[in-house]
Symmetry: C2
């Protein structure tokens, strides 16, 4: 895995966390915060926090005073700003697929336009369509992202279908190691593995 | 963050991926695999794969032959084996909460027993209950885990409620930095941040 991509991904994961704390500080009329305070709130190493902020922020914070809250919010928002809105489809309109289809928390960065399924009973021909309309609808609706929420056995086959339709980015919720051609982006969201990590920690705690 | 915990978490995230490839190899009647092959399939560094396998496996693989597939499957399954079944509740029976309540992919390791909500209209008193029954039901049903699927504004308050009921592990789907007392485990599942990472990569690819 490319080291540079890996680093920027972990930083990207922390930036929204800084933003939440900064916005709360702003609400409470706090005008400056230190990297130490941010580190403590998030249980992170303060050197790491300082490095992150050095990367995204115009100034390095005043010694003994810290970072200006408004300025830091602006810098982080600029850094994580997504410039264009992407259109997405969902493949697999089961429980998880329908929940995501009806979840508006991803706006304004991503619009989930429609979903596809192989079960005609769930297809309403309004927002859920039978899978044989995939290619036509993808081309007509300028789709960038496919969200995969099918059972793991079907995941590779539907991935190949969406790649064949020209989609270059996949957000995969199926517990499967999908193979995609060079140049296709994939982001895995493996809830079973997340749960495994939590359960292992619970058992370690009990011992 | 404790360095040791962090390392074991990242390994835990890779072990199910090795298992999937090994099980597929077994289906195809392949009897041994090399760490190099596993590394290539998963786009990981092969030294990292060898380190992971040295940690969980009885033997180190034969030079030029590799690891016995059956033995390695057994060793990994033993390593990630969860010894006891945990009971969970969902706080927030909105779209995501109801999807998780009706998703059986977490069994047999975790049973989602019931959900709670502040909206009486969604409470069926079978599997979804009004929030004022939380404490009574948690005590009666021996609940270990609370899955938080409320809006971010409500997340901290409901977290404090479940902690007060004696729950020691939280799986948080709300985009909020929850504060929990020492000894309470928390696993964050932040879909918005995951999406942000995917969208940033798409923009990098376009440039």
């Amino acid at each position: 895995m490319d080291e540079k991509v890996e680093i920027s991904t972990t930083i990207l994961r922390r930036l929204p966390q800084y933003l939440r704390i900064l916005n709360k500080a702003k609400e409470n009329k706090v005008s400056s915060v230190s990297s130490t305070m941010l580190a403590e709130e998030l249980k992170l190493n303060s050197i790491l926090v300082r490095k992150d902020l050095a990367l995204v922020s115009r100034n390095q914070g005043k010694p003994g005073v810290g970072f200006d809250v408004d300025e830091l919010i602006e810098d982080i928002e600029k850094y994580i700003n997504i410039k264009s809105i992407k259109n997405a489809i969902i493949i697999g309109a089961g429980r998880l697929g329908q929940a995501l289809l009806n979840y508006y928390g991803f706006e304004p960065n991503m619009n989930i336009v429609m979903a596809f399924d192989t079960n005609k009973k769930v297809c309403d021909n309004k927002r859920i369509f039978y899978i044989d309309q995939l290619e036509e609808k993808v081309k007509k609706n300028n789709i960038d992202i496919a969200i995969i929420t099918v059972p793991k056995e079907e995941a590779q086959a539907v991935t190949e279908e969406v790649v064949n339709c020209g989609i270059k980015a996949i957000w995969n919720f199926a517990p499967a190691n999908l193979k995609v051609p060079e140049g296709t982006l994939i982001k895995n969201e493996d809830l079973s593995t997340s749960l495994l990590i939590l359960l292992k920690k619970i058992e370690d705690n009990e011992n």
